[in-house]
């Protein structure tokens, strides 16, 4: 079990800067992120893009900013759990918080700071009635982890992006029967993949249904049939299927955070701007994941929030202790 003062959910720029602000007050941090590396969106999505609104830096590359923040936090020896997602959060009576990841890692902390940015990217689910009843091993999956499990089975893939095309090509040789459903007339993906899919359809290896959408799913106990509707003629086609894989990309979601009894407003966590605390004492939310009047989703605002949060967290952890703020220009940064 990992034990720390502050557990920070999210290792993006704001979570990383919180290490420094907390460190000045001698509080130790442990960060958890679902991505395999630190940096959040900056490292994952736009590492080479310049950012122009970090105070004091006319321009800085996203990855450079992350590297610098890591360097800045180094004296305070933060811990990291990467590639894991916090699923459970419990408060032990009046005492510490216990966080559990999807891999079973347990982290105990006095304070929890949610710096989760956009949240986690999860598969986008189409609006098809009854889809949920076939999730969890009963035929409907939103991602393909082990293609071998589909060997000799009948399956339907829905979607028109690159991943739908790539999986169709890959699975055509493995499954017994494959139907690809796409809402449009044509595909705009990589030309090479599009040509391969068209060739598979012409040779009869796959069943390609264009200009169509998923209409409904049925089966007793497990998926047996997928109903597909033509979006112009409204003609309905039934396809016998053991598996349905809708591949409609990923969308950012709060995920398990939604189940923690925090006040949520439009997928963001409501906070008190005095100290960016949430409705649960000891839990704070900073950066893009929080919301308040006049909120700006800017890195620099997240930095400010991290500073105020740290001072409040110190008071929360040390009730009654008088603390006077010290400037780093006067005291420097003392490692601990």
């Amino acid at each position: 079990m990992i034990s720390t003062d502050i557990a920070i959910i999210g290792a993006g720029p704001v979570g990383l800067f919180a290490i420094f602000e907390a460190g000045l007050l001698k509080m130790r941090c442990h960060l958890i992120d679902y991505l395999p590396q630190v940096g959040g969106q900056l490292s994952e999505i736009y590492p080479k893009k310049p950012i122009y609104d970090i105070p004091g830096y006319p321009t800085v590359l996203a990855q450079e900013l992350i590297d610098n923040l890591m360097e800045q936090g180094k004296p305070f020896h933060p811990g990291f759990t990467l590639g894991e997602r916090i699923e459970g959060l419990e408060k032990r009576g009046e005492g510490d918080f216990v966080l559990t990841t999807n891999m079973g890692t347990i982290i105990e902390s006095k304070v929890v700071v949610i710096a989760g940015g956009l949240g986690c990217f999860e598969p986008r689910k189409p609006a098809v009635a009854g889809l949920e009843q076939f999730e969890n091993g009963r035929g409907v999956n939103y991602m393909i982890l082990d293609p071998e499990q589909y060997r000799g089975q009948k399956m339907v893939i829905a979607g028109g992006g690159d991943s739908a095309l790539d999986w169709t090509i890959f699975l055509a040789d493995i499954v017994e029967e494959l139907t690809l459903v796409h809402r449009s007339e044509s595909f705009r993906g990589a030309p090479d993949s599009v040509n391969k899919v068209m060739a598979l359809a012409e040779s009869g290896r796959i069943n390609l249904i264009l200009n169509s959408n998923l209409n409904s799913v049925s089966g007793s106990g497990k998926l047996e049939n997928v109903e597909i509707i033509h979006n112009k003629s409204l003609e309905v086609t039934n396809v016998a299927a053991d598996h349905l894989i809708p591949l409609f990309g990923l969308s950012p979601k709060l995920g398990p955070i939604e189940q923690w009894n925090l006040n949520i407003n439009k997928s963001a966590i409501e906070v008190n701007t005095d100290d960016y605390s949430t409705n649960i004492p000891g839990i704070y939310a900073i950066g893009d994941i929080n919301t308040y009047t006049n909120k700006l989703k800017l890195i620099l605002c997240g930095f400010h929030e991290a500073a105020l949060m740290s001072h409040s967290a110190y008071q929360y952890m040390n009730p009654g202790v008088k603390y006077t703020m010290k400037y780093t220009t006067v005291n420097g940064v003392s490692e601990f």
Binding site: A127, G160, D162, A164, R188, S251
Partner: protein, 110 residues
């Protein structure tokens, strides 16, 4: 109407149109402008073409819009139910050529 403003029409759920005066000199995207007008748009990703919650269907003036970037193209391509005239409002920077643009919130993509 002020000099640096254009008219944007938004089709409501009942089919009627609401006309909004939008500034073109503030560097706003259509998403930011619609959000400022209190339209129910999550814009989770803050305008990076990552979440598609700002998707709009362009009813008039499609030809007046800037071309799609690869990111917008790829995002629209993966969505379950967009139309040929769907765009991501966050990728449409307001400019004078967009005078008279008519859109409808796509909805349902969260």
């Amino acid at each position: 109407m002020e000099e640096n403003n254009i008219n944007i029409h938004v089709q409501n759920a009942d089919g009627s149109l609401t006309t909004l005066e939008a500034p073109v000199d503030m560097g706003l995207s259509l998403m930011e402008f619609l959000k400022a007008c209190e339209y129910d748009i999550l814009a989770t990703c803050g305008g990076m073409a990552l979440c598609a919650t700002c998707c709009v269907d362009v009813l008039e003036g499609e030809d007046k819009l800037n071309e799609m970037s690869d990111d917008e193209y790829a995002m629209l391509d993966t969505l379950p139910d967009v139309l040929p005239n769907s765009r991501l409002a966050c990728q449409l920077q307001l400019n004078p050529a967009m005078e008279g643009l008519t859109v409808k919130l796509h909805g349902g993509l969260d």
